[in-house]
């Protein structure tokens, strides 16, 4: 019987670079031995010392493993095809079939590839707040395969949250947000490691929690936490992706270590009562979707090292006029935290600070920002 034998790349030097060679015999073993006699180097690659097919080589007859047939004694017919498939250390190693399918639209992109996807899988991102902003950020980061997502939130789900907080369901009302958030994230992508921090961030715990992550994404809804997270990120040199919303308007920016911080823009919070919270002032439910997605994109760009970061720019979004505008930001050498001569060198009591012990600046008076 005349058969075709497909030679794998690594063995082709033994067959004169032929990808396919003809051979003869009545069984698989005979056909391979015929080739071994013609190409001695091939013989030493495919056969072991006892003359059998080596264990590191799999042999297929017409795409069926001969192990499932009669081994190398399997009879062959005219025109059959024998494929030799050696064990390979390379190939798409380290990727499960599910990962290849799930992340294929990232992997095909020249700017991402398997290497970029690996960076996402290895990244640790902390989300401050599992509410309106944190929901879309968490879901897109999870879908993208960010490997570790920390959720900081002490609250339980309230029916009034569901107008905008897509991490949670009607069935979740009364549940801790970190619990329903984890469920939603793992429903979307079971391989994301969700770390739950069901607590209020304060000057006692902030450094320890934030130090465990690569990037912090702000989706908080109050000024004390906003200043606390900012100062902690400055001290720990962590990138902070920042977003805030109120009514129909949103803001987003990125603070990179050494390139300015929230306090460079707003050295002090507005006086209590001047800025309404979302609970009092209201917010268009879709708005955090826009701003939270911008935060997710900036986070992924930082992880992948792609594009131009929003660092140094404050992006303003007005849903009513449907306009995006950008303000230039700069590091303030006089900044009390990241300036040349900082006056704040450790975490302080932010509740007191935000109750107006410090005198508000012009910038702060203009501020309307609440998560």
């Amino acid at each position: 019987m005349s058969v075709n034998v497909y030679i794998p790349g690594p063995f082709r030097s033994a067959t004169g670079n032929m990808a396919k060679v003809e051979s003869e015999g009545s069984t698989v073993a005979e056909a391979l031995r015929t080739l071994g006699n013609r190409y001695p180097a091939f013989k030493s690659l495919v056969f072991d010392l006892n003359g059998g097919v080596a264990d590191h080589v799999a042999v297929f007859l017409n795409n069926r493993d001969i192990g499932t047939l009669q081994g190398d004694q399997t009879a062959i017919g005219e025109g059959d095809e024998i494929s030799i498939v050696p064990a390979m250390s390379g190939g798409a190693s380290g990727w499960s079939e599910e990962q290849i399918l799930r992340y294929s639209r990232h992997i095909v992109m020249p700017q991402v590839g398997g290497k970029g996807q690996r960076k996402l899988l290895n990244a640790k991102v902390l989300l401050i707040g599992a509410g309106g902003l944190g929901s879309p950020t968490a879901m897109y980061l999870a879908a993208a395969g960010v490997g570790t997502i920390g959720l900081v939130d002490a609250d339980v789900v309230d029916l009034s949250n569901l107008q905008r907080q897509l991490l949670h369901d009607t069935n979740d009302v009364g549940k801790p947000k970190v619990d329903s958030g984890q469920e939603r994230i793992n429903d979307l992508n079971p391989e994301v490691n969700v770390i739950k921090h069901r607590l209020y961030l304060n000057s006692e715990n902030a450094m320890e929690i934030i130090s465990g992550y690569d990037i912090v994404v702000n989706g908080c809804d109050n000024f004390p936490t906003r200043y606390l997270v900012n100062d902690t990120c400055v001290f720990l040199k962590k990138p902070l992706v920042d977003g805030s919303i109120l009514f129909f308007e949103g803001q987003a920016t990125v603070y990179l270590p050494g390139k300015g911080c929230y306090r460079c823009v707003y050295p002090a919070p507005p006086p209590p009562g001047m800025v309404p919270s979302c609970a009092e002032g209201g917010v268009l439910g879709v708005l955090p979707g826009i701003v939270g997605c911008i935060e997710a994109i900036e986070t992924i760009k930082l992880i992948l090292g792609l594009g131009e970061s929003l660092s140094g720019r404050l992006l303003l979004f007005d849903a009513l006029s449907m306009e995006f505008r950008q303000m230039k930001l700069r590091r303030d050498p006089q900044c009390p935290v990241c300036g040349d001569h900082p006056t704040v060198t450790e975490l302080i009591d932010y509740e007191e600070f935000c109750l107006g012990i410090a005198s508000p600046t012009e910038a702060a008076r203009e501020a309307i920002r609440i998560g």
Binding site: N4, Y6, P8, G9, P10, R12, S13, N17, A19, K20, N63, E81, S83, V85, M88, G90, G91, A92, S93, W95, I100, L101, S104, I107, V108, P110, G113, G114, K115
Partner: protein, 92 residues
């Protein structure tokens, strides 16, 4: 047999293949996704041979690799169903 205009590039003699991947039964885009992942694990200068039986992939795979700046050194039909696309990694 096909509407595709497949451009055959005979593999020059002397090209030695360092690794190969059998993607018979796979369709686009996974043919490219899997061969790209295999090439990422290789060194610049090394050559990967990709076995395909999904005809559109014989067209798409070389194009996608060229888009990424890699060199296609061979596109050959080896039997009624199978093609070998051979790519040399020329950049990370």
């Amino acid at each position: 047999m096909t509407d595709l205009n497949l451009t055959v590039i005979p593999l020059p003699s002397g090209v030695s293949v360092d690794d190969d991947i059998d993607l018979r039964g796979e369709v686009c885009p996974y043919t490219f996704v899997k061969s790209k992942l295999a090439l990422e694990d290789m060194e610049v200068g090394q050559v990967l041979s990709i076995r395909l039986d999904h005809l559109p992939a014989v067209d798409n795979c070389p194009r996608s690799f060229r888009n990424e700046g890699q060199e296609i050194v061979g596109v050959e039909q080896v039997d009624d169903t199978d093609w070998l696309v051979t790519v040399r990694k020329v950049r990370e």
